[in-house]
Point group: C2
Chain length 280, copies 2
């Protein structure tokens, strides 16, 4: 990718980290940010995540080579369609949303000719928010899923893959529906379980929690609005993942009820094997 | 507590950390360790967690002022009863087991006269094991539950509380059954859920996990044998906690099924509030 203009829509933790990483790696001559509030654009500029901040898309998109949408999943598709008319033919668009199926479908149907969109999801981030926590190394060694559909422009796909690799990410290419089914299990279900667990804790037990409870519920600190939008986008796959989880929990429950301790230990051993395989 | 002899039964992560902390704070002239295997006693000695290692209880307990049982919960009560006859009248016994009801009940019934036992559970530890990971600061600022029953010697209780405070822990005194009900929810249930979640992950999805999945399942790396013993000791309270969790999960499931997004967001918001209150 030639150094040029990268415009980031939503310069928070992910968008800000993309700006920092792109600048550090010399992938952009200029990084522009589009935001809804002047103060958050100022913070992104203060930490070096963007060079220029804009409240309006027109000037921010003028001459941009790559536009990356890092806004909540329920706003990405409509923003892409609203902003695409400001882009020159040949502009590449991608996103960093945690769901892919409905975003990719909504965008592909209606995108103007000459503007290519390829969906992305970097599996990075945290319960923290805002450009203040932006980190140029956030994507290093982490996986980014890039989506391919029958309508995806192969040339655009190649460039988007190259962009993520250039900022240090590993890339895997998947169909949007495969991404959503996988992430329902690896991300959205854990969030639901962590929230259900945190939500049931009465205040008198707060002091009796230790690292186990805190690790297990850490992601429940994530933004409720963002996660509701993710759950809404991926409702069916999440409900399926929850049903599968219930089967596993029911196995453990049945073994406890019948005092089948060898079975309990065998189930815990299987879980340990998986967890050990994941590393830290 | 006068500096004297502290004997630690099971010099692993918890026992080794107790030895280091007691020595660093000048609470013991000598720390002895009892173990089943020479190499692990040697490691505990190499890291400074114990001064002397013993494979047999007799010499290890001779003249000890305080004996702390840091072995798996399914072995603590029988070890206490087997070792107590080697102790002089006035020796204080405590433990560091994750369950309290059945240990305290089994010990209190049969302890010889003149030997006092007070149950303890420091809410510290990790999925790591062995004296190699021992840390003198493991208990600093962390809560230790000390148990009281109608049979507990008030003088012994006071000394055990003072010991934990002297190594930096905060202490709360509870009835064993109250401890077990609380820990079922704050520790044993999270372990069960983490194991059920980790256990369902097929290998092809390992690479699609990020920090959320890893945090949520971290404790599933814990030792399956130890945790089966904990689950067995606290089966009833754990099954009750699981039933309460199911209610919370069913609320989220119902809200997803009916696409009641305000309800989903409200449940996630309640969970976020709890998690934020717990700190890191």
């Amino acid at each position: 990718m030639q150094p040029g203009i990268i415009t980031i829509v939503g310069a928070g933790l992910i968008g800000g980290s993309l700006g920092l990483a792109a600048k550090e790696r010399g992938l952009a001559r200029t990084v522009r940010g589009i935001g809804r509030q002047r103060p958050s654009l100022e913070r992104a500029r203060a930490v070096g995540a963007i060079d220029e901040g804009f409240l309006e898309p027109g000037p921010a998109l003028k001459g941009a080579n790559l536009v990356i949408f890092c806004t909540p999943v329920d706003r990405i598709a409509e923003q892409i369609l609203a902003y695409a008319p400001f882009c020159l033919p040949g502009t590449l668009l991608t996103d960093a949303g945690s769901t892919k199926g409905s975003i990719v479908a909504a965008v592909e149907e209606k995108l103007p000719a000459g503007i290519a969109f390829v969906g992305s999801h970097p599996l990075a981030g945290s319960e923290k928010r805002g450009a203040d926590h932006a980190d140029a190394k956030l994507f290093e060694g982490r996986l980014t899923v890039v989506t391919r559909t029958p309508r995806t422009d192969p040339n655009a796909l190649e460039k988007i893959v190259a962009f993520w690799q250039a900022i240090g990410a590993r890339v895997t290419v998947m169909a949007p529906a495969d991404h959503d089914r996988a992430l329902a299990m690896t991300s959205h279900l854990p969030h639901l379980l962590a929230a259900a667990l945190a939500g049931m804790l009465p205040p008198e037990l707060y002091d009796l929690t230790a690292t186990g409870f805190r690790d297990t519920t850490r992601i429940a600190a994530g933004d409720p609005g963002l996660w509701t939008a993710i759950f809404a986008h991926n409702r069916d796959a999440l409900l399926e993942a929850l049903a599968r989880f219930d089967q596993g929990a029911r196995q453990l429950q049945a073994a406890l009820e019948t005092r089948n301790w060898p079975e309990v230990e065998s189930l815990l051993r299987q879980a340990q094997k998986v967890r050990d395989a994941l590393g830290n």
